[in-house]
Amino acid sequence: MCVHRAPRAMVRSWDPVGSCLVSTRTEHGSRHGRDVVCAVRGLTKTYPAVRARRGVPATPEVRANDQVGLQVRRGEIFGLLGPNGAGKSTLVRQLTGLMRPDDGTVEILGHDIVRHPERAARILAYLGQESTALDDLTVSLAAETTGRLRGLDVRQARDERDAVLEELGLTDLAPRPIRKLSGGQRRLACFAAALVGERPLLVLDEPTTGMDPVARRAVWAAVDRRRAERGTTVLLVTHNVIEAETVLDRVAVLDKGRVIACDTPAGLKEKVAGEVRVDLVWRERAPLDVPEVAALRSRAVESGRRWTLRLAPEEARAVVATVTGGAAFVALDDFTLATPSLEDVYLALGGNGQGLVKA
C-alpha cells in the first residue's frame, strides 16, 4: 500500500462573500444623536404546554427566551447566532411587535414596542423566516405592493421597486411568480420586498438561507450600501458561523433562550485565543496501533472518520508532525489546521454546537 494522495493542509479558508464589506464600514454612531437603536431588557417568553390531541402528542412548555438583554447601536450589523430552536426567531418576533413578551421591555428608537407593537411597522422592515404571503405574486408586484403598504405612493413604489430589483440583479426575474422560483431566488425576492420603502432598522431572519455566493454578495452589498449612505441598522438572525464572522459587527450568541455571550466576533474569539483546532480525517479508521494517536483519542471529538481536537499551538504542531509521518500518515485522508472560529467560542461557552452551519 502506498500513499497516492498527499494530504492537503489548509489554513482556514475565508468566505469570499464577506470580503466586500470591509471597505465601506464607517462609524455612524454619534453623528445622529441616538446611539442605541434597539434596547432589549429582561425579555422572557414561554410557549405554553399543549395537551395531547388525537394523533398529536403533547408538547411541554418551552421557555424560548429567558431574560434576554441586548443593545443594538446605530449603523451596526448586529447578529443573533445560535443553533435551531435557540430562540432567535422568537426574539425577533417580539422586537417586531408580532408577539407580546411575557416579561421585559423592547425599546426601538425611543418607542416602547411592548406597549405600542403597531409602531414597529413604521420603524423597521422585517424579513421573516417564511414568507408565504408573497408566494403567488410576481417578483415585481411583490416588491411594489410591499412598498405601497409601507406608505409609498404608486410612483415612489415603482421607482424604488425598479431600483431595488436592479440592485439585487432580479430584473430578469421580475415578471415571474415567486412560487415558481428556486429557493434562493425566492429568498432574494422577499429580501427585495423588504428593502422597498426605506426603514432605519432592518430585521432579517436568516436572509441568505439557500442562496448561492452571488446572491449572498448582492444581499450584503445592499445592506452595506444602506448603512454607508443612510446609517441603516441591521439585526440579523443566523446560525451560520462563517457568515457571522464575516459580516457582523457584533454578535449575541443564543443558547436555549439565553444570551451566553455578546461581543464583536474578534472579541469573542479572543476568549479562546491560544487554541488551535486540528481536524483529522482518517481513510477508514483511526490507526489506534500508533501509540501517539491512541493517546489523542480521549481528547478528540469524533464524528465518523473525523476527529476534531482543540489544542495549544505547540501541541498542535506535535500532532501534525505525528500524523504526517510514519504509520499514521498512511491512514490519514486529510487534515486541517485552523485558528479558532466562532464555533469554537460557542463550544467553549458551553453551547451544544451541533446545530451550527459552517458553510
Binding site: 438583554g69 411587535g97 423566516q129 404571503a133 403567488d136 449575541a252
Partner: protein, 274 residues
C-alpha cells in the same frame, strides 16, 4: 454560565440618562386606507388569476349542473326563479366564502400574516382588499350561470343588470364570513372545513325552493347572509318586480356585509398579533 447583559460587555456601556433625554424618533408614514386597499386588491386579483381560474370553472359548472338537475323537478314559477338565483349566488359563495376561508386559514397557519402585520397597513385594507378581489373574481362565473339559467328555465333576461348590486353585496357578506372563518379557525384544516360547510349551506338553503323546507331549516336560511341576495335576485325575474322589496333585501344584504366585514377585520387583528 448565566446571562451576560450587553451593558457590562466591552463597548456596550451607555449612560442611561443620555438615552432618556432623547425624544422618540419620528415614525415612518402610515399606509392610508384606500391606497393600501387598492394595492392589496390588485395583488390579490393577480394571484387569484393565476391560481384560481380552474376553481372558477368548477364553481360555474357546479351551478350549471345543479340547474340542469333541477330542471327535471321544477318547471317554471317561483321555484324556477329560486333555482336560477340560488345557483348564481352559489358561485359567489364558492369563491368568496369557501376559497377565501381556505386562503386566510392557510395564510395564518403558515405565518403569512406576519408580512402584513409588520407593514403599517390598516387591517381593514387587508381584509377588504382580499374580500373584494375574491368577490370580483366571481363576476364572470355568476353572469354565465345567470344567463344560462334564464335561458334554461325561460326566464326574462331584462333585469339581469341587478347583478351589479347583488354580486358586490352578497360578495361582501359572504367574503366577510369566509375571511372571519379562515382567521378564527384554530387550524387550517378546520378553516377549509368551515368554508366547505358554509358553501354547502348556501347550496342547500339557497337553491332548494323555500316552501318545501321544515321550519328549522327555514330559520337557518334566514340567518345565511347570501339568502337576501338570492331573494332580491329571484324577485327581479317576475314580470313586474316589487322594487321596494328588492331594495329592502339588498339593504339587509349590505347590512350583513358591513357586519361580517367588521367581524373579519376584528378577526384579522386578533390573528395578526399572537
Amino acid at each position: 454560565m448565566s446571562v451576560v447583559p450587553a451593558e457590562v460587555l466591552p463597548g456596550g456601556a451607555l449612560a442611561v440618562e443620555e438615552r432618556a433625554e432623547e425624544a422618540p424618533a419620528a415614525l415612518g408614514p402610515r399606509a392610508r386606507l384606500w391606497p393600501s386597499l387598492a394595492a392589496v386588491y390588485r395583488a390579490q386579483l393577480s394571484r387569484a388569476r393565476v391560481a384560481r381560474i380552474p376553481l372558477l370553472f368548477v364553481a360555474t359548472f357546479q351551478s350549471i349542473g345543479i340547474m340542469i338537475l333541477m330542471r327535471g323537478v321544477v318547471d317554471g314559477g317561483a321555484a324556477a326563479r329560486a333555482v336560477v338565483a340560488g345557483s348564481s349566488v352559489l358561485v359567489v359563495a364558492f369563491v368568496a366564502l369557501n376559497l377565501l376561508a381556505q386562503y386566510f386559514g392557510q395564510l395564518r397557519a403558515s405565518g403569512g400574516l406576519d408580512h402584513y402585520a409588520t407593514l403599517p397597513v390598516p387591517p381593514a385594507a387587508v381584509v377588504l382588499g382580499a374580500a373584494g378581489a375574491y368577490a370580483s373574481f366571481t363576476v364572470p362565473g355568476t353572469v354565465v350561470v345567470a344567463v344560462f339559467g334564464c335561458v334554461l328555465f325561460g326566464l326574462p333576461l331584462a333585469h339581469l343588470w341587478v347583478l351589479v348590486a347583488v354580486i358586490p353585496l352578497a360578495g361582501a357578506a359572504l367574503a366577510g364570513l369566509g375571511a372571519a372563518l379562515g382567521l378564527l379557525a384554530p387550524r387550517p384544516e378546520l378553516a377549509t372545513l368551515l368554508g366547505q360547510l358554509g358553501m354547502s349551506a348556501a347550496l342547500l338553503l339557497g337553491v332548494l325552493p323555500e316552501d318545501r323546507m321544515p321550519g328549522v331549516v327555514q330559520f337557518a336560511r334566514d340567518l345565511l347572509p347570501s339568502t337576501y341576495g338570492v331573494e332580491a335576485f329571484a324577485r327581479t325575474f317576475g314580470g313586474d318586480p316589487d322594487w321596494a322589496v328588492v331594495l329592502g333585501d339588498l339593504a339587509v344584504c349590505a347590512g350583513v356585509g358591513v357586519a361580517s366585514l367588521a367581524v373579519a377585520t376584528w378577526a384579522y387583528r386578533r390573528a395578526a398579533v399572537r
